[in-house]
């Protein structure tokens, strides 16, 4: 199945993959900033920025940059959380949505749009704040359910997550039933996801939250490697499994909550990016975590670029696009898994 490699350490291959991805991201950012309804040649962007004036400068700094950087941040946060959660649940088919953040955030958004349309908590930030808090609340609830005297049970967390998703689906149905046409449209577009509303004003408060999430998650690489052997074996190697779980779930909930509050339900990046990195280089979390984040950022920027340009002058919701590409890819992963495990 896999041919023997000359050395089992594979460090060279990991480093090369990281380097390639670190070069890919600025390329994607330049393309994303340049192309669109008002095209700007990507190679001229540094010159325009240095000049600091003109229409092109305005378009770049007021519209394109917050959008492209927002997409990159959302993609990176989703992919990082996805990589960590796949390691934590020791299941490569885990999506960050499984810890309840996404559905909690959707419910939060629905509550703010439909039930409390008049409430202007922090003005323009209401919807995003509700989505963020809804996501954290849902994860906290699942965490409480999964607590047992024998430690936090990851399987219980997953099962409770499925129950929560079903319940949230029903409650969203109630919100849809209660909503008027305008609210319905806003809610639908929010759940489909997109970066068109990302401005500096949203990006700045999201930045510290995203950084905090990364600071919580990136140092978990070594313990996650040990966890691949099993929870007990990780303990034998000096890992405190409860501390690892707490920190991984908190960091992921923060990251995904921030991402969802910024861009709504952009799916599949958190699932696909870690996979692509494992195919490119390997599963070592020390390289996988930063690698998946870089790759997720690039994927989100490219997805946003396609969403803006494919059906121009109209714009496709990014969530639709990522699902269109991510869905078949997920099916491919399942088929691969089937082949490997059941030899069929």
């Amino acid at each position: 199945m896999t041919q023997p490699l000359p050395s089992g350490a594979r460090t060279g291959r990991y480093r090369l993959a990281l380097l390639a991805l670190a070069l890919l991201l600025p390329l994607c950012l330049l393309l994303g900033a340049g192309l669109g309804a008002y095209p700007i040649p990507p190679l001229e962007i540094p010159g325009i920025l240095l000049r600091g004036e003109g229409v092109e400068y305005q378009v770049l700094t007021a519209l394109r940059f917050p959008r492209v950087l927002g997409a990159a941040a959302v993609g990176a946060l989703l992919a990082l959380a996805g990589a960590v959660l796949q390691g934590l649940f020791r299941n490569p088919l885990v999506d960050p949505g499984l810890i309840g953040v996404t559905s909690g955030a959707a419910l939060g958004a629905a509550v703010s749009l439909v039930l409390l349309p008049g409430v202007a908590l922090l003005a323009a930030y209401t919807l995003h704040l509700f989505a963020f808090l809804g996501g954290l609340l849902a994860t906290w609830l699942l965490w409480r359910v999964a607590r047992t005297p024998l430690g936090t049970q990851v399987t219980v967390l997953l099962l409770a997550g499925i129950a929560l998703n079903a319940l949230v689906g029903a409650l969203l149905g109630v919100a849809v039933f209660l909503a008027d046409d305008q609210q319905l449209r806003s809610l639908t577009f929010w759940t489909l996801g997109g970066f068109s509303e990302v401005t500096w004003g949203f990006l700045f408060p999201a930045l510290p939250l995203g950084l905090l999430s990364s600071l919580l998650l990136l140092p978990l690489a070594r313990p996650l490697n040990a966890l691949a052997l099993g929870e007990r074996e990780a303990f034998h190697l000096g890992v405190d499994p409860e501390r690892l779980k707490r920190r991984a779930i908190l960091g992921s909930a923060l990251g995904v909550g921030t991402a969802v509050a910024l861009a709504g339900g952009v799916g599949f990046i958190g699932l696909v990016a870690p996979h692509l990195f494992r195919l490119l280089a390997g599963p070592d979390h020390r390289f996988l975590l930063p690698g998946a984040a870089l790759l997720g950022a690039s994927l989100a920027v490219v997805a946003d670029l396609l969403a803006r340009t494919l059906v121009a002058p109209a714009e496709m919701p990014v969530g639709v696009l990522t699902a269109l590409i991510g869905g078949p890819f997920f099916l491919y992963l399942v088929l691969r898994y089937k082949r490997e495990v059941y030899r069929a």
């Binding site: 199945m1 023997p4 350490a9 052997l229 190697l237 070592d284």
Partner: protein, 259 residues
């Protein structure tokens, strides 16, 4: 080096084991024997610090297990468990390297860590496997890589849960000889074993139990037919003699009657 006093573990109303005392000195290879369900694995998990005893205490190098941090414990004892699963396609080398983890707290890995992993792979005769994906290894190959991981961990105490399960005779003897050599060089080894004769060949001290301890001592003291019959509820016979190794064999009652 490892000391257990009045160890007991209760799950609900049932005592899985009770009244276990043992004292492993450096240089000793201990074998824990007993019928299925006699709490051998539970005892090993208590000694490893996975489980907290309901009564009694375990101390490693004079310090109670509960006083250790997980990393501190991992620098002093390594565990080979029966249960092997791996989620992602790590290579054999990457799995063996995990043994260095407790020694890497707050620092980057250096060439000396990789040197130690290579040395461990060499000693466990797993060096040619290092580039293979762990999940594609056979049972015997995987066990050699796991052994290398334990060696890379450089502990004082090795705890082994039925290490020879699924191994053919050659790997079984190689593996036990390796841990025998480690014990002789001053480490402590405690292994749960099913094969009484292998235990007699490689271990200094045997603990025979069925919930409560039945006998504790040298192979000659413990592997006596009347004790074994009490533990396993089948007749036993001693084979071999003063010249060759002394072997014990479980036999069906009718065969014993004929002899």
């Amino acid at each position: 080096m490892l000391e257990a006093r009045g160890l007991g573990y209760r799950l609900g109303e049932r005592w899985l084991l009770r009244g276990v005392d043992l004292r492993v000195a450096p240089g000793e290879f201990w074998a824990i024997l007993g019928p299925n369900g006699s709490g051998k694995t539970t005892l090993l998990r208590l000694l490893a610090g996975d489980l907290r005893p309901t009564e009694g205490e375990v101390a490693l190098l004079g310090v109670p297990l509960s006083a250790y941090s997980p990393e501190g414990l991992a620098r002093r004892r390594a565990v080979l468990s029966q249960f092997r699963e791996l989620t992602f396609p790590f290579t054999a080398y990457e799995v063996a390297f995990l043994g260095r983890l407790p020694h890497l707290q707050g620092r980057r890995e250096g060439p000396e860590d990789h040197g130690k992993v290579r040395e461990a792979l060499e000693r466990a005769r797993a060096l040619p496997l290092q580039g293979r994906v762990f999940l594609t290894l056979s049972g015997g190959e995987a066990m050699r890589v796991e052994t290398a991981r334990l060696l890379a961990q450089q502990p004082e105490l090795f705890l082994l849960d039925e290490p020879t399960n699924h191994l053919d005779p050659r790997y079984t003897l190689e593996l036990l000889a390796l841990f025998r050599a480690l014990a002789t060089s001053g480490k402590g080894v405690v292994a749960v074993l099913h094969d009484l004769n292998l235990a007699a060949l490689y271990a200094d001290r045997l603990l025979l139990k069925e919930g409560r301890p039945l006998a504790l001592g040298t192979p000659e003291e413990v592997l006596r037919p009347e004790l074994l019959e009490e533990a396993y509820q089948v007749p036993f016979r001693v084979l071999g003699g003063p010249k060759g190794p002394r072997l014990v064999l479980a036999l069906p009652a009718e065969v014993v009657g004929d002899g």
